[in-house]
C-alpha cells in the first residue's frame, strides 16, 4: 500500500513539534498520492498522538539512544513493508543525519530543508532554499520513495481527529560501528534557534559581548531563542549555535526581532523568510530595514529594556 511514512522524534513521551509538522504535511501528501499515512518512532506510547495526526499505523523500533545505523535499518524494514511513495523527516539534527543515509541505502533522491511540498503529476515536488536562502529551487524527486526533510516552522502542525493507531514492531540492530558515549545537557532554559517560534537576535550594535544580556532578557521575557549575527560569533561574544544566516542557520520563525544588526547579505538570506520581522537600529539606512515589517530607528540600549518591561507587563495580565 503506497503512501507516506514519517520518521517521528519523541521527547518526554511526546512527538516533537517539528515531527508533528512533518506528519501534518505528510497526511496531505498521502491524500493526494493515495495511500495511508504511517509513522515510525522509538516509543509505542505515542501511537495515540500519531493517530490524532492521521497516522494509520506506527512502526516501533526498540532504540533508546539515537543511532544512525539502528534507525536506518528500522526505516528500511518499514519501507519494505509499507512501500511508501514518500518518506519524510523533520529537518532536525537527527532528520538531517538519517535522510541521506537511508536515501543512499534505497538509491533514492532526497530534497533537504523544504518549505513547500506537493504531490504533482505523480511526483513529489518540493521548494527549498539554495545559496542560504538567496534563491529558492523547486525540485522534483523522481525516485520511490521520494525523500524530503521539512524545515521546522514551515508547515503548520494540525491534528486530523483520528484516534488510536495500529502498532507494529520493527527490529533495529545495535550500531556496531558507532555508539553514543554521552549527552551533554543544554544550558538551562535556552531555546534553540532552529525550532523556535520567536527569535531575538543581536549584532555588532551591542558593542561588546556582555551586552548580549539585553538580548537574553527580552528573549527570556517573550519566550524566544537568542540569535546572533556572524560578526558577534566571530568576535567570540556568543557561541556559534546561535548564528543566523549563511554559515549559521536559515530560520523561519513566526517573529524575528533584530537589534543592532545592520543586515549583511548573508544574514538577510538566513532570516528574511521569517513571518514577522522587527528591526531596531540606529542607522536609518541599515539594509535590515528593507526586510523589516516594523523598523525602529533608535538606540537598542534604550528600546530593548523598555520593550522587555512592556512584554513582562503584558505577560502578567
Amino acid at each position: 500500500m503506497a503512501g507516506v511514512l514519517v520518521f517521528c522524534e519523541v521527547k518526554d513521551g511526546k512527538i516533537k513539534k517539528a515531527s508533528r509538522e512533518a506528519l501534518s504535511i505528510g497526511r496531505k501528501l498521502a491524500e493526494s498520492a493515495g495511500g495511508d499515512l504511517v509513522a515510525l518512532a522509538n516509543d509505542k506510547s505515542v501511537a495515540e498522538e500519531a493517530g490524532r495526526y492521521g497516522a494509520k499505523k506506527l512502526y516501533v523500533a526498540n532504540i533508546s539512544d539515537y543511532s544512525t545505523e539502528g534507525y536506518t535499518a528500522a526505516l528500511k524494514q518499514a519501507c519494505e513493508e509499507a512501500k511508501p511513495s514518500v518518506l519524510l523527516f523533520a529537518g532536525t539534527s537527527n532528520g538531517r543525519d538519517l535522510a541521506p543515509r537511508i536515501g543512499a541505502r534505497l538509491d533514492a533522491g532526497v530534497a533537504s530543508d523544504v518549505d513547500q511540498l506537493s504531490w504533482t503529476d505523480g511526483k513529489l515536488r518540493a521548494r527549498r532554499p539554495v545559496y542560504s536562502g538567496k534563491a529558492f529551487a523547486t525540485v522534483e524527486v523522481t525516485s520511490t520513495p521520494a525523500i524530503a526533510t521539512t524545515r521546522p516552522n514551515a508547515f503548520p502542525a494540525e491534528e486530523a481527529g483520528g484516534g488510536a493507531t495500529e502498532v507494529s514492531e520493527v527490529s533495529a540492530p545495535a550500531d556496531a560501528k558507532a555508539k553514543l558515549l554521552e549527552t551533554k545537557a543544554p544550558e538551562a532554559g535556552e531555546l534553540t534557534i532552529a525550532e523556535a517560534d520567536i527569535i531575538v537576535s543581536g549584532g555588532r550594535g551591542l558593542k561588546e559581548g556582555p551586552n548580549f544580556s539585553y538580548i537574553r532578557d527580552l528573549a527570556h521575557a517573550i519566550g524566544g531563542a537568542v540569535g546572533a549575527s556572524r560578526a558577534t560569533v566571530d568576535a567570540g561574544w556568543i557561541d556559534h549555535q546561535h548564528q543566523v544566516g549563511q554559515t549559521g542557520r536559515v530560520v523561519s520563525p513566526n517573529l524575528y526581532i533584530a537589534a543592532g544588526i545592520s543586515g549583511a547579505i548573508q544574514h538577510l538570506a538566513g532570516m528574511s523568510s521569517s513571518k514577522h520581522i522587527v528591526a531596531i537600529n540606529k542607522d536609518p539606512e541599515a539594509p535590515i530595514f528593507r526586510v523589516a515589517d516594523l523598523g525602529i530607528v533608535g538606540d537598542l540600549f534604550q528600546v530593548l529594556p523598555a520593550l522587555t518591561e512592556e512584554v513582562k507587563k503584558a505577560k502578567a495580565h
Binding site: T68, E69, T72, T92, S93, R96, P100, R101, G103, A104, D107, A108, V110, S112, D113, R125, V130, A135, F136, A137, T138, V139, E140, T142, K177, A178, L180, T183, K184, E187, A194, D197, I198, V233, Q246, T247, V250, L255, S272, H276, I280, P284, F289, R290, A292, D293, L294, G295, I296, V297, G298, D299, Q302, V303, A306, L307, E310, V311, A314, K315
Partner: protein
Amino acid sequence: MNSVVCISHVPDTESRIKVGADGRRIDETGLKFIVSPYDEYALEEAIRQKEKSGGDVTVLTFGPERASQALRECLARGATKALHVKGESGDADALGIAKVLAAAIKTVPHDVVFFGKQGVGTDNGLVGPMVAEVLGYPQVNVVTHLEVGDGKLTATREIEGAEEVIEAQLPAVITAQKGLNEPRYASLKGIMAAKKIAIDTKSVADLGLSDSDIFNQRVVFVSVELPPEKSGGRKIDGSDPAAAAQEILKYIREEAKAL
C-alpha cells in the same frame, strides 16, 4: 593517519545570485568561486591530525575544470595530495556525487573522510552521510570536537540545544561544523610548495562508474527563483523608547499574534 577531505567549490558568500537563462540554474557568469566555508574546518582538522601523527591529507573534488582552483588553495594551506574527478557535477544529484566520491576515496589510503557539514551552495548537507553509506562506514555529523587514535575516533556532535559524544570505528566519515577549529590562511611558503604538487585527475569512467547511474536524476531541478523583494514595512522614530516599545508590543500582539 591518512585523511581524505572532500571539497566543494561554491560561489563566494558575498555574491548576489542571478537566475540563469534556462530558469533552472543560477547564472555563473562573473561569480567568484571559493572553497565552501565548512570545508575549511574539515581541511584544517585533517591538517592538524597530520601534524600530530603524520600521514597524508588528500583533497578530493568532483566538478568542472574550475574546481582545480579549490584544490590548489587547499594544497597551499597544507594538504599533501589532490585528486580532481572531472565532470559536470551540477548535472548529478547528491547521491550521484556521493557515488563518484566514494569510488575515488577507495583509490586513496584513508582512515578518516572529512566533509563540511554542507556546501554553501545547494545547501543539501547530503553528500557526507551518503558517502558513508556507500562505503559502509560509520558517520558523525556536524562535529565540533574530534579526537582520533587507536583505530577509533571520538567526536562531539551538535544537536538541538545539546551535544552528543560519539565513538566510531575507523574508517569513518566526519562532517565539520563551524567551531571545530580556527582555519589557517595559506602562507607564501605554502603557496610556493603547492605549485610543485601535481593534481591527479580522473574521469567518472576511470572510476568504473557509468554516467547513467551518476547522472540518474533522482532529484530534478524544475526552476530556481529569487525570493520576492520585500518592500520594507513601516519605519518609525525610536527617540522616545517607551513609545517605540509600545508600538512594537502592539505589532507583536496584533499582527504576529505572538503574545
